[in-house]
């Protein structure tokens, strides 16, 4: 009937996979949508492709949740084109992406201990 809600330690909304990837792309600084798409594509060897529709929805959701803010001017010829706008993490966004990375690191550690990682990625 209901899902188990997953909330971060900060009480912020749980992130979707796409949401985490976008925050990760912005973690090193302000960026525009094209760069976010390219970052995710490269990082995942093309296994995850954020199309313009998903990118726009994900960014709009992160902005509504106050994890990301738009910075700079919007191209008046394409107001809904997230690829042409600049975005940056808010302080809350920076905290949430750190917490999510920490949680994922613990899961990956468990996967490593269970022998689930590729040999060349395993840590002793």
């Amino acid at each position: 009937m209901y899902r188990v809600p997953v909330s971060s330690a900060s009480g912020a909304p749980a992130l979707t996979t796409a949401g985490f990837q976008v925050l990760l792309a912005l973690a090193s600084g302000r960026s525009h949508g094209y760069a976010v798409m390219g970052f995710v594509d490269q990082l995942t060897d093309g296994r995850v492709r954020l199309g313009p529709g998903t990118l726009y929805r994900t960014l709009a959701r992160l902005v509504a949740d106050e994890l990301v803010s738009e910075s700079g001017a919007t191209d008046p010829t394409a107001p809904h084109d997230a690829r042409r706008r600049y975005y940056e993490l808010t302080p809350l966004g920076a905290q949430v992406v750190r917490e999510e990375a920490d949680l994922l690191a613990r899961l990956v550690e468990a996967a490593n201990n269970a022998g689930l990682l590729d040999r060349n990625r395993r840590t002793p």
Partner: protein, 155 residues
């Protein structure tokens, strides 16, 4: 492959007045507008709302396509389930904003605090919050004899 596993399931509702509905769902239920498209005549073709981790598509009714809202149909048989931390506060606020009480908030035998409000556009929202973690057998043991008895009717 003979049967496909779907990639997702969404909800698409029709309303008589999209602007008023988006304003209501935003204020009452914390919805956030993500995308909006209009027909050339100005009617709202659809609005995509984020509601918690899920999405709700909303369109203005288009009579010539037989896409009608509860206001035109005289009701809706569908319940939209909304899980919240604070059922009572959200319920009271939705009623204050023009929602109608269909079923007052009460503790339910299946382990939720739960109430149903009809929004000003005729859609029914069941607001719920988890109170107990019950196994399916425990819920089965608690089912009242009939829908007019026990916690079905509230306190």
């Amino acid at each position: 492959m003979t049967r496909q596993r779907p990639l997702g399931l969404g909800t698409h509702i029709f309303v008589s007045d999209a602007d008023a509905a988006v304003a209501f769902y935003s204020e009452a239920f914390g919805a956030a507008e993500l995308i909006r498209h209009r027909l050339p005549d100005g009617r709202v073709l659809f609005v995509e709302l984020a509601v918690g981790p899920d999405k709700l598509l909303l369109s203005e009714e288009i009579a010539e396509l037989n896409a009608l809202s509860p206001s035109s149909l005289g009701g809706s048989p569908v319940l939209l389930l909304l899980e919240l931390d604070d059922v009572d506060g959200t319920f009271a606020h939705a009623v204050e904003m023009g929602g109608a009480v269909e079923m007052p908030v009460a503790e339910m035998f299946w382990g939720e605090r739960y109430g149903i409000v009809r929004d000003p556009f005729g859609h029914h929202w069941a607001l719920c919050t988890r109170r107990e973690q019950l196994a399916p057998d425990e819920v089965a043991d608690r089912v009242p004899a009939g829908p007019t008895e026990g916690s079905w009717k509230g306190d």
